[in-house]
């Protein structure tokens, strides 16, 4: 018996629970040089904004213990070019397509999602209300429950398919933001975006990236992410959770499912091992077989706590 890896989130079915995270898989084309995207549960595109953004000057990334810090600055081609040049490629891919959007005003989220609503192949949108790398917007939305609720509520009116709110860990209580997203009409939450971090070169006394602070990602943040998923899962928020943060292999995936995630996204691990999601799919199959489980769904929320 081959174990069933399929999961369903807000009525959208995924052939397996492994998605690639926004900003870590480009617009899909780049990874398609390495493996068929059809093997992924889903793909989340780089945050799209209304206008194209060049991003911050280099250096934009620094290596840190067990991970990295980045301040790419939401560099992206903008919604017009995204629809004209990137969507046609994505439309051909046999995997779930999630388009991540970001804005500096609520109106921008609404405008972007209204346009994406006309493209049937955009299965879901993910609202990046939590990017630590832009001066205006981004982080303010994700740290303020009122703004979160309002943003989701207004997007809800223009986007007919499921909406995911992507939450920031840089708050006192992430479950408050998750509840606000649910009240606004979100269908799922993804937990977590990158953690604010900093790196300094002791020789030159310089900060290592031009934006000085950036988003810490990779294995270094996995425990923070697990705790955040656990917190949201055990709150009043009943939305399905997509776990993100430092996932490197199949056993990391299992940990996230156990604390309550229904699916996961893989970010920084793709930089070190571009085919990591494929290995995780295989590893997950072996794990389920070894544990004599028929479906990956049997793991969700089954953590045994002291």
């Amino acid at each position: 018996m081959t174990p069933d890896l399929g999961v369903s989130i807000a009525g959208v079915s995924f052939k397996n629970p492994i998605l690639t995270a926004s900003g870590c898989c480009g617009y899909g084309e780049e990874l398609a040089d390495l493996f068929p995207l059809a093997k992924l549960g889903g793909l989340v595109t780089k945050s799209i904004t209304k206008n194209p953004r060049p991003g911050h000057p280099p250096p934009r990334t620094a290596e840190t213990t067990g991970g990295m810090i980045n301040a790419i600055g939401l560099a992206n081609v903008g919604i017009d070019e995204f629809i004209a040049k990137k969507i046609p490629f994505l439309e051909k891919q046999k995997t779930t397509i999630v388009v991540n959007v970001a804005g500096s005003k609520i109106d921008e989220y609404v405008e972007l999602c209204a346009r994406l609503n006309d493209i049937a192949r955009v299965d879901m949108v993910e609202l990046n209300i939590s990017c630590p790398n832009v001066d205006v917007g981004g982080i303010e939305f994700g740290t303020d429950p009122k703004l979160t609720e309002e943003t989701v509520r207004r997007v809800r009116k223009v986007f007919a398919r499921p909406i995911i709110a992507k939450l920031a860990p840089n708050v006192t209580d992430i479950s408050k933001i998750a509840i606000a997203a649910e009240n606004g009409g979100a269908d799922a939450v993804s937990v977590i975006n990158s953690v604010v971090g900093m790196a300094v070169d002791p020789e030159s006394w310089r900060t290592r990236i031009t934006n000085n602070k950036g988003g810490l990602t990779g294995p270094a943040i996995k425990p923070i992410a697990l705790a955040a998923v656990d917190r949201v899962y055990n709150s009043q928020c009943k939305l399905p959770i997509i776990g993100i943060g430092g996932i490197t292999n199949a056993s990391d995936v299992v940990e996230f499912l156990l604390v309550g995630a229904s699916a996961v996204q893989i970010g920084t691990a793709l930089f070190v091992e571009p085919d990591a999601p494929l290995k995780m799919v295989e590893g997950l199959k072996r794990y389920l077989a070894r544990k004599k489980l028929s479906s990956v769904r049997e793991l969700i929320g089954k953590v045994r706590k002291y």
């Binding site: 898989c25 930089f271 571009p274």
Partner: protein
């Protein structure tokens, strides 16, 4: 479309080139047929305190045995670790990556400008040209370093039969000074020739070579370096600013860019 492969490759040969320079040859590399001069590989270093892979230019390919050679200098954590691997060890090699050098026309006089550890891609370029029947006497290979030990693989370069000009800042081998001043002299003295420049080296050297190209209207290409988290174009971490505005990814849009294209 070239197929990029991540594979466990065995180190078949390790050479200590002295003064902290090393050569590692890997095999078998199955994606080798897609490899061009200017391409690089991204090597995983299985240690918890080194997270990114390290980019290494391809220095040579051996199609008969499906092997690929890199040459590096021990610089920081990553290359210190890389130097500890021995013949028989395996490493995860991702490649070939990036866009390579454009081929010169038969009538061109090729000038290679290598600085320090910018040598490997230009050595591969020159070897590949000679192998393909390009007249070695029409290749001028300038190689600059601080001191004699920085000019590695001299006998291997000479064996190609090209015109070889080592240049050191302290005069311990070859001519004394900065390599770019001699390049400028050659172009200024050879007005009628159709020169084409290929450069790789430290930023100052790239800047000077770029300026020579612009001042004397000589076309050419430069290979750049940048910190590279992914090497495959998905993270947007490795960018350089472009003269026309915006940024380009060194890993996927480069590492080779035309003279005059990048803000230096």
């Amino acid at each position: 479309m070239s197929k990029i492969v991540s594979e466990e490759a065995v180190i078949t040969r390790r050479r200590d080139l002295h003064n902290n320079y090393y050569s590692l040859t890997f095999g078998p590399i199955h994606s080798l047929s897609a490899c061009r001069p200017g391409n690089f590989v991204h090597i995983k270093l299985p240690t918890s305190d080194i997270y990114f892979r390290r980019a290494m230019s391809v220095a040579a390919v051996y199609p008969d045995t499906n092997e690929l050679e890199i040459i590096f200098r021990v610089f920081g954590r990553g290359t210190t670790r890389l130097a500890t691997f021995r013949t028989g060890d395996t490493l995860d090699v991702l490649g070939p990556l990036g866009k390579g050098f454009a081929k010169p026309r038969k009538s061109d006089r090729v000038i290679c400008v290598a600085g320090g550890i910018g040598f490997p891609p230009l050595f591969y370029l020159a070897s590949d040209l000679v192998q393909a029947g390009f007249d070695p006497k029409k290749i001028e290979f300038f190689y600059g370093g601080r001191s004699a030990p920085d000019i590695i693989e001299r006998s291997r370069i000479k064996k190609l039969g090209l015109n070889f000009y080592p240049v050191t800042e302290d005069g311990s081998v070859g001519r004394t000074g900065l390599v770019t001043q001699f390049v400028r002299d050659m172009i200024e003295n050879g007005r009628k020739e159709k020169f084409v420049l290929y450069g790789c080296g430290p930023e100052g050297m790239l800047r000077a070579t770029n300026q020579i190209g612009l001042d004397l209207s000589v076309p050419g290409e430069l290979a750049f370096e940048a910190p590279m988290p992914c090497g495959i174009g998905v993270c947007l971490g490795c960018v350089v600013p472009l003269v026309k505005g915006g940024y380009a990814r060194v890993c996927a849009d480069g590492p080779v860019f035309k003279i005059g294209e990048v803000v230096l």
